[in-house]
């Protein structure tokens, strides 16, 4: 049974497009089966007589393969031979077979063949109406996690791998003049016609081979078998330099401005892993001047009782399996059809040498040429009737046939039972309007073809072939040529005439007679009592469920969709949507156009995360920014933290030190002698122009008119709403030249903010901005010994307190390198920020360390920087502000100049009624009663910890640390009216039930008079 030499019971001896010289084996649910190169996984499974491929989502009913393409709802499998190569959500109908392929069914617990959940389905069919999950699992909310786990396990639509994908995926951008979607007869002729004008053409098709339905057609084009015409056209296209052919490429999304995303599976057909050095999948991002959609049509199954029993298939899929893969998926066929095309499946089945039990035509008097073909083969034709019910559980073993009335609304005759193992149904065709829908174009109903076709286009888009409801081959070829020529002409190529490509002729094409509109096959019982009639297989939506939804008052088709989950599966309801809408329409006594259709969205078929990510993963996920001294930090054991894209040293632990040990040491060393911080990541914006000073005065809240050359000033930046959003020190380099520093994370935003105001509000000001963040390395040397240390490294800057005052800057050389030295302080200590050209950064850093040994120069990172500044009550914009605080809320009214002539940004905003009212949340210092206790940041402040929940919250903690210098914890936070509550207690209830009490105090914990920095 498991041997690879096992006979494939449903494989024909001859025919098909499979390569019989390349036999392969594959594994499905731990059994090994044979197949051939050229098979899909689905065709190989059918060849081996595998009936059950999954369990249904809600009722856990056994399901088999229904379709042969992207529309397959049931055979959605898990692929992968190893954990790392697991791929969920693969349609067996679209996966080419390769040697060693390993597939598993995803539904079914404990197994697909023997599923416990099916008893729920059997016993409790009526226990699971639409909205079942909404109705059942709503309460209590606390149990939702339990419910969700249960639902997911029961649904089991595959799983993600838990190891890294070893394959490479990539992306490519294209521009083209004409993008043709679909390489069936219409797409091939469109591509050829457009390509011959010299236009750049891309032709994409989801299948391995171009040709679409022509690959299994018996028709003749220009007197030759259709397959020869395909070869000839593809051959010409391959030879044209202006043409890009993309087989195995699904156009998955049609986005704004003719932007299309195409998912190409380059090596999925070769093995579990891509061959070494090759890409597994590629996402093509195409910007097209014009698009021709030739995406064809999808056959509709008929909706009858038990239409989901394995063995129930689409008629066109049966033909495809027989003709293209030499697989007859059963022995005795009953075909039910509403139209002439459906007959082909029975004719092919008969010609393959197997038994056609009967053709059941729902039309009272079918007269097409196909009827004669059936009669010629001696196939029984049952007219004016329908298969109202299929029999069997894991495989069809018979059907019930009965006469129906002309409108197909009720059963009019006695039931006749037929034995068979396969029931093909042909309910007409639904054009694949999905991509057209992606653009926002609403499909329109066409009564003559009983289908929705693309409506008014909103893009530079044309359509050709079956997507237009043109099902005859001659029409597909003609539309293809015409639209290909038109698209090229619209894009500026060729003449808009027919003579560039002759329209191929189709010999002996037979006229099709009118199909019958039948979306729901009647049963002797009312729909609600009849066995389940499935509309959407993947989400287990039945005709009865849709009728119930409309009875419960869901009138909009969009609401019916959401309530029943119709079309919510990974197949987006490709098979069932139109039937479902028609059933809903009828149930509400409306027409189909009145009811309308739901809209398809990208992606057409599921796409792997690998293809979406492309190369943007691992090291390439996001750029990393390093300062010039990064190597030193690494070599000296720094722990890093991410600040924006920057990797900043967080702290420098010595062997055996805990983080807190390291912070304590770094803080004490800085306060007692000297520490150094790599501050290169601060944003730096060079500002020049005669109006630069005026501009600064407008964007900062404080005054800039009198800042002299050689001086620095701290500034606060607010939005028009008066709320602080950034801060930093700006130095006056020359009368018309300043350099502004911003927060590390805010640099790009601040630059854009300055440009915004300059370009849109004050273009008359002569001022220019440029980022110089990357051009400078910044070494912040801080501590009582910083002057001594720096004096050993410079001989042209007078560092004395009298000549180089606090908030001055000087130009000179440091360690032999040109430098700008700013005497500014974020630690409260005597402090110098040395700025040198970036490429000198490392050299200067190392020189500073050589000289600094005797002062125990200690490197510190961002965490110590945070502690040191918090000891001084300095804010960090973005940590102690959140877009809702004014300078006054921060106790920084000293940084607001209200006598400036120009109404600077933020002035009017912070004067609004709500911003000036008393009792706003204000930033204060917090001293815990237990000096060792550090309040977690984010803790909420309350006045009374015994108040019942919900308590009145007064504010929250924004910054909180243990201060080694002070020997106790320190914190800053917002407290409502806090500036007037000095000395009062406030409480911070914790998640564990404990409460931390703190006293409100000034946020300046250390050196309130600023004596340390003014030496």
């Amino acid at each position: 049974m498991t041997s690879s030499n096992h006979v494939q019971p449903n494989r024909l001896q001859n025919g098909g497009r499979i390569d019989r010289s390349q036999p392969v084996t594959f594994e499905y649910n731990n059994k090994t089966y044979p197949g051939f190169v050229g098979d899909t996984l689905a065709s190989a499974m059918l060849a081996n007589g595998i009936d059950v491929v999954g369990r249904s989502f809600k009722y856990s009913r056994p399901r088999g393969i229904i379709a042969a393409g992207a529309d397959e709802p049931n055979a959605v499998l898990q692929l992968g031979a190893t954990e790392a190569t697991q791929v969920p959500n693969v349609r067996a109908t679209q996966q080419e077979l390769f040697h060693g392929l390993v597939a598993k069914s995803t539904n079914g617990w404990p197994s697909t063949d023997n599923d416990l959940m099916s008893y729920v389905g059997k016993v409790g069919g009526r226990m699971m109406p639409p909205g079942f999950y909404y109705k059942t699992f709503m309460y209590p909310q606390s149990l939702w996690d339990t419910y969700e786990g249960f639902i997911r396990k029961a649904a089991g639509l595959g799983r993600s791998p838990v190891e890294n994908d070893p394959d490479i995926y990539d992306q490519i951008n294209h521009h083209c003049d004409v993008m043709v979607v679909g390489a069936g007869p219409a797409g091939l002729s469109a591509a050829l016609a457009a390509a011959r004008t010299g236009a750049r053409v891309i032709l994409a098709d989801e299948q391995a081979e171009f040709g679409g339905m022509l690959l299994h057609s018996d028709e003749l084009i220009d007197g030759q078998p259709a397959q020869q015409w395909v070869s000839r056209v593809v051959g010409e296209l391959v030879g044209l330099e202006n043409v890009t052919l993309l087989p195995r490429s699904t156009v998955n999304g049609y986005h704004d401005h003719n932007f299309l995303t195409i998912h190409e599976r380059r090596t999925d057909h070769l093995g579990d892993l891509a061959p070494k050095g090759q890409v597994r999948q590629r996402m093509h991002r195409v910007r097209a001047a014009w698009v021709v959609l030739a995406s064809g049509a999808i056959e509709r199954p008929l909706v009858y009782a038990n239409n989901d029993v394995p063995g129930c298939m689409l008629a066109s899929a049966v033909s495809t399996y027989i003709k293209r893969y030499a697989v007859v998926p059963g022995n005795q066929l009953v075909l039910m059809t509403t139209n002439d095309q459906g007959y082909q499946a029975a004719l092919d089945w008969h010609d393959a040498g197997r038994k056609v039990v009967a053709i059941v035509d729902t039309r009272a008097e079918p007269t097409g040429a196909c009827v004669l073909e059936a009669q010629r083969r001696g196939i029984e034709l049952i007219k004016g009737s329908a298969v109202i019910e299929a029999k069997g559980s894991k495989r069809v073993n018979g059907v019930s046939v009965a006469a129906i009335n002309a409108s197909g609304e009720r059963v009019t005759g006695n039931i006749r039972s037929l034995f068979c193992d396969t029931l093909a149904s042909a309910g007409g065709w639904s054009p694949a309007v999905h991509l057209s829908c992606h653009t926002g174009s609403r499909p329109e109903w066409r009564e003559d073809v009983q289908a929705f076709v693309p409506g008014k286009t909103v893009q530079k888009q044309l359509t050709a072939g079956a997507i237009n409801g043109s099902y005859r081959l001659s029409a597909c070829l003609e539309e293809g040529v015409r639209q290909g020529v038109l698209a090229a002409a619209n894009a500026g190529f060729g003449q808009q005439s027919d003579d560039i490509v002759e329209i191929p002729s189709v010999d002996g094409e037979v006229e099709q007679t009118a199909p019958m509109a039948l979306f729901h096959v009647p049963h002797t019982k009312p729909t609600s009592r009849a066995p389940k009639q499935f509309v959407d297989y993947q989400t287990d939506v039945t005709a009865a469920g849709i009728e119930l939804a409309t009875r419960e008052g869901f009138e909009s088709i969009e609401h019916v969709k959401r309530y029943t989950a119709m079309g919510f599966g990974t197949d987006q309801g490709k098979l069932g949507n139109i039937n479902g809408m028609a059933i809903a329409a009828k149930s509400m006594n409306k027409s189909i156009p009145e009811t309308g259709t739901t809209i398809f969205r990208p992606n057409y078929t599921p796409i792997t995360f690998g293809a979406i990510a492309g190369r943007n993963c691992g090291e390439l996920f996001d750029p990393k920014r390093y300062s010039a001294m990064h190597r030193w930090h690494v070599e000296n054991g720094a722990k890093f933290e991410d600040v924006g894209q920057w990797k900043r040293p967080w702290y420098f632990p010595k062997p055996g030190e805990s983080m807190q040990d390291a912070l304590n040491r770094e803080c004490l060393a800085t306060r007692e002698s000297v520490g150094i911080l790599d501050a290169s990541t601060l944003g730096k914006i060079d500002i020049q122009g005669k109006d630069a000073r005026e501009f600064l005065g407008r964007v900062y809240t404080n005054a800039w008119a009198k800042l002299g050359v050689g001086k620095c000033r701290y500034g606060l930046m607010c939005g028009e709403d008066g709320m602080v959003f950034d801060d930093g020190v700006t130095a006056c380099l020359a009368e018309n030249h300043f350099v502004m520093t911003t927060t590390t994370g805010g640099a790009a935003r601040v630059l854009e903010w300055l440009e915004l105001y300059h370009q849109t509000e004050w273009p008359e000001l002569e001022v220019y901005f440029n980022t110089v963040t990357d051009q400078w390395s910044t070494l912040t040397i801080s501590g009582p010994n910083s002057r001594k240390l720096l004096s050993e490294l410079t001989d042209d800057i007078d560092l004395s307190g009298d000549n180089f005052k606090f908030m001055d800057w000087r130009e000179g050389t440091v360690a032999g390198v040109p430098a700008r030295v700013f005497r500014i302080s974020f630690t409260g200590e005597l402090s110098f920020e040395v700025n040198v050209q970036s490429n000198y950064g490392m050299q200067v850093w190392e020189k500073v360390f050589e000289a600094g040994k005797k002062y125990n120069l200690t490197p510190y990172g961002t965490e110590t920087m945070h502690i040191l500044r918090a000891e001084k009550g300095f804010i960090i914009a973005g940590q102690d502000t959140d877009g809702s605080v004014t300078p006054m809320d921060l106790g920084m009214g000293w940084c607001v100049a209200n006598n400036k002539p120009f109404s600077y940004i933020g002035k009017r905003g912070m004067a609004r009624e709500d911003c000036v009212k008393p009792n706003r949340k204000q930033l204060v210092g917090l001293k815990t009663k237990d000096p060792q206790k550090v309040i977690p940041e984010g803790s909420q402040a309350v006045a009374d910890p015994n108040q019942p929940i919900p308590m009145t919250m007064l504010g929250h903690v924004t910054s909180s640390y243990y201060s080694a210098c002070l020997g106790h914890s320190i914190a800053m936070g917002f407290v409502r009216g806090g500036l007037d509550k000095m000395g009062e207690s406030v409480y911070y209830p914790q998640a564990d039930g404990s409460v931390i009490e703190a006293e409100i105090c000034s946020p300046i914990f250390l050196d309130p008079k600023g004596e340390r920095q003014n030496v």
């Binding site: 704004d256 401005h257 910007r287 028009e720 440009e755 915004l756 849109t760 109404s903 002035k907 004067a911």
Partner: protein, 97 residues
């Protein structure tokens, strides 16, 4: 994803290079200090949300860093025109009505 013509670079470029900055032609009041709270709130917070033509401010963030305006149909996402700051739109709801 949009294809946007930058009126400064004079080229069509991908949307990834641009940032949308909201409704265009929101002028900062010339005398903010004499605005009522209500007038200031109008300037700060109130924006149109039209179904149809909308004039928007964009910036060519990773290109020339210039701000400019786009007239865009919010239903079809069609860009009708792009024009420089200080210029008036050629396509307006009044004109196309």
């Amino acid at each position: 994803m949009f294809l946007i013509y930058c009126p400064h670079c004079e080229e069509h470029r991908e949307e990834e290079e641009f940032h949308a900055k909201g409704q265009a032609h929101i002028a900062r009041p010339l005398d903010p200090d004499n605005c009522t709270d209500e007038e200031w709130a109008q300037f700060l917070y109130f924006r149109d949300n039209p179904r149809g033509l909308h004039h928007e401010l964009w910036v060519h963030a990773s290109g020339c860093r210039k701000f400019f305006n786009i007239t865009r149909d919010t239903q079809s996402y069609e860009i009708k025109e792009t024009y420089k700051v200080g210029e008036q739109p050629g396509v307006t709801a009044a004109k196309s009505a």
